[in-house]
Symmetry: C2
């Protein structure tokens, strides 16, 4: 039974509550802080996009196509479908001679309401580039093209693209990735349920390079650095990952995943973090990760900003203050 | 500690889980079925709009303005802001000589994505009529105008409009409604946290009229009947309340509330139901209410439809089947 980690207040009363588990590891595989059941397998979903992007660099595709921080950040993103995201995904595909018809992630209206309204107002319709995963998928497609692999069907579990991703996930997390723990993600690629502690250890390795080998260690650092340099491209306007990474520029990597997951790293402390809100609520996962980061950074200036992010207020349609979210003592 | 009532599956594995409490009462105040802690106060939010609409009928306003099932259903609604909802709210206000500028609920884009896209595509902007609570607020305003009460500030806890609502809530639920359990709702009116068992008993009274007095009993039945006759106006395209009420037309009343609440009634069985998902997730509250209704209706034809609604499948952006929600044994 995982403890309540976040309470939702209306006025002075608790209206809703969120349970969860948290794991913090160092690169050598030492558990630094654990809350709840961190052995239970969880689907990390989009929180591991930085690991899934390793083959993009390791195959040489990123360099061949001239990708810098912006493109690498978008390859690790769950973006909001704002024009800057869409145009960058289009440009990435164009470097490999492809367009959005090669994407197999499906189309949806931008997750940004403002972007949806602007697109609809201009008489537009969304295509696959607006899918929040289009940057990751563009990375997969570029990897295939550079490596001379037929990209058709690249989302399938047996395709060389997903096999490269799976190999990277196994190597970084140390967890088994097989049929028995495989599900299908929202964007159609495989996602594998692994224990939070493996994810935490994996992100500590991504940050420190511990036992990854020099090439993979370098690729991992390059990806985390790109995300920290371009937080807007990893998420979008008003999204949690942006202020979290901006709280201490270049020192905090975070990535949200569907169903209340966060993976994170503090490179200077050599720590990796993974957490999941039991019920899948992202609002609570955001509070959890902010509280965990504030605690780990201690008396740092960034901790005050993170504590603010861990205690958001709730305002209603008339902008009246009606409540708040707060971390419980279990996170203090 | 409330039990897990709903599991979210990805492939064959549980990805997320939702806890909750359920109370089923008859009109005489007998507990018929209880799960979890039904004594803990919960904010019912929009799930009690039918009780909040009692003064609209009891003051004679509804009859004076010629309101039928459609207007009464909208007064009990959390609508999706589709054109039919917006125009009906506008027409209700017009009967009292008012327009949307009298509303104090605030404006937001329609909760229906399709309605938002259509509105934006036509170059429009939302006003207070698009607020999901505009029908309820139009009812409050019509009540004030008919009763000769200055409607300005009608959302405030001390205003005659909200005092009428509070009196109805106290009478129907038997629970105290005071400053100590008061919060502010999303649409700015007061909301009071009361035990689930009081809400369940209250909706059994709404359905049966037990100890409400003949006038209130008649008003209650008229409101529930209106909602059951016009489920689309209570919610909107693709929303849970519609198929739930359509599963057995005229025999099931349900109303969702924010933060995972449902109130419901089965008039022919004389039962009232109230439930809350601990974490506030509506997807889980929908599964809970469908499973509870299926169980209570037993071998009824409607039960098969409700069991289907209690076991929705999850499809991804490419329309692939990726998972499902299911009620746990605690609801069987």
């Amino acid at each position: 039974m995982n403890p309540v980690l976040v309470e939702v207040l209306r006025g002075a009363m608790v209206e809703s509550a969120h349970r969860g588990a948290v794991s913090v590891y160092d690169g050598d595989g030492k558990a630094v802080w654990e809350i709840g059941d961190t052995n239970r397998p969880v689907f990390p979903r989009s929180a591991v996009k930085a690991i899934q992007a390793l083959p993009l660099i390791e195959t040489g595709a990123a360099d061949a196509y001239g990708f810098g921080n912006r493109e690498l950040a978008l390859a690790c993103a769950s973006h909001s479908g704002e024009p800057e995201h869409v145009e960058l995904a289009r440009a990435m595909l164009a470097r490999a001679g492809l367009d959005e018809t090669a994407l197999e992630c499906g189309a949806h209206w931008p997750t940004s309401e403002a972007a949806t309204i602007a697109l609809a107002g201009a008489g537009g319709r969304p295509n696959q580039l607006h899918n929040n995963c289009s940057g990751k998928h563009s990375g997969f497609l570029c990897t295939c093209c550079h490596a001379g692999i037929d990209h058709r069907g690249y989302v399938g579990a047996g395709h060389a693209s997903q096999e490269m991703v799976r190999e990277a996930m196994v190597a970084v997390t140390g967890a088994a990735h097989g049929e028995e723990n495989r599900g299908i993600d929202g964007c159609s690629i495989p996602t594998y349920a692994v224990p939070l502690k493996n994810l935490a250890h994996g992100f500590a390795r991504m940050a420190t390079g511990a036992r990854l080998g020099p090439e993979r260690a370098s690729a991992a650092k390059r990806l985390l650095s790109a995300c920290m340099a371009e937080p807007f491209l990893v998420a979008g306007t008003g999204r949690g990952d942006v202020p979290l990474m901006q709280a201490a520029p270049g020192r905090i990597f975070v990535k949200v995943g569907a169903e209340g997951v966060y993976c994170a790293a503090l490179p200077e402390l050599g720590l990796g973090i993974a957490l999941k809100c039991d019920d899948g609520e992202i609002r609570a996962a955001e509070v959890m990760i902010a509280a965990v980061l504030a605690k780990l950074l201690g008396k740092d200036d960034a901790a005050a900003k993170l504590t603010g992010l861990a205690n958001p207020t709730l305002r209603n349609r008339m902008d009246r203050h009606v409540g708040a979210l707060r971390p419980t003592a279990a996170l203090a």
